[in-house]
Amino acid sequence: MSADTDLTTGPLEYRSHEGRMNILGFWIFIGAEVALFSTLFATYAVMFGRTGDSPVPAELFELPMVLIMTFLLLTSSFTCGIAIHEMRRGSLKGLLTWLAITLVLGLGFLGFEIYEFVHYIHEGASLQSSAFWSGFFLLTGTHGLHVLLGISWATLLIVQLRQRGLTPVTSRKMFIVGLYWHFLDVIWIFIFTSVYLIGMVV
């Protein structure tokens, strides 16, 4: 059966049976992450409107900042895609350059998010202030933590890529980090839509 033999053509990350299994395993993990975030979204939605004495979201959410954050993350997802594209062309240099750009954009996103959190806390909306804000901070915070993890993970990979170059193993790892990064963008799109936009409308 061809499934568990090693290939000699095609993208490096798919060449070994192990590589293909790892990538499939990560896809399934992403499925689990969807379930995880959906639970956070559900909690946020159920807690919607339960602000108690604290400010309501429409008072605090600001479109310009949210749009900047969204564009930063969307662009980083794009540059990450290009990084993988470069990897598949066999260009380590291209991969590292685009990956670095991706991480800078990711850091920019995190910076804004931290600023946003501090700002809200100053305005009296914190994790402790009400059920709604608990839901908000846990949902966005979990996403932010994932971004942080993604950045650290990709940084480790940069080191490994420089040590070892493009091999079936390093490209498989890189591909998986790429999947993770795009997935975080997917989650953010839903946060943008159902937290910020709906929060400003309702």
Binding site: S2, A3, L7, T9, G10, P11, Y14, R20, I23, L24, W27, I28, I30, G31, A32, V34, A35, F37, S38, T39, F41, A42, T43, A45, V46, F48, G49, R50, L63, L67, T70, F71, L74, T75, S77, F78, C80, G81, I82, H85, R88, R89, G178, L179, H182, F183, D185, V186, I189, F190, F192, T193, S194, L197, I198, M200, V201, V202
Partner: protein
């Protein structure tokens, strides 16, 4: 094995990127300046979000590649099914099933909340 573009210009990525920027702007506009009734807005921007998610999955993440492509797509479909059940199911259940027009009871705080949810 289908990786159509190991060489050359990353067309798919650029199209996907532009599309996602445009969709984001459309969603923001729909939410804040379209003047549509709220339920319409919510439906519309959620649909836009799902489209964007598909862009990421298909154009950036190569979901259909390798002989596991079918499994990966099935896996994401199952994931979205569970997500829908969790989100919609929780909202429905935890609204305590009272409908607006002819509610049978519930305390005031409960009612206030529903006002919040629907306007």
């Amino acid at each position: 094995m289908s990786s159509e573009h190991s060489e050359g210009f990353p067309k798919k990525h650029i199209v996907g990127f532009i599309a996602s920027i445009v969709l984001t702007i459309v969603a923001a506009w729909a939410a804040l300046s379209s003047g549509l009734p709220t339920p319409w807005i919510i439906t519309a921007i959620m649909v836009l979000a799902v489209i964007q998610a598909c862009i990421q999955l298909f154009m950036f993440m190569h979901m259909t590649e390798t002989d596991s492509g079918g499994i990966q797509v099935g896996n994401m479909l199952q994931a979205f099914f569970v997500a829908a059940v969790v989100v919609a199911g929780s909202i429905w259940t935890m609204s305590f099933g009272y409908s607006h027009n002819h509610d049978g009871g519930g305390n005031d705080a409960e009612m206030e909340n529903h006002e919040d949810m629907d306007h």
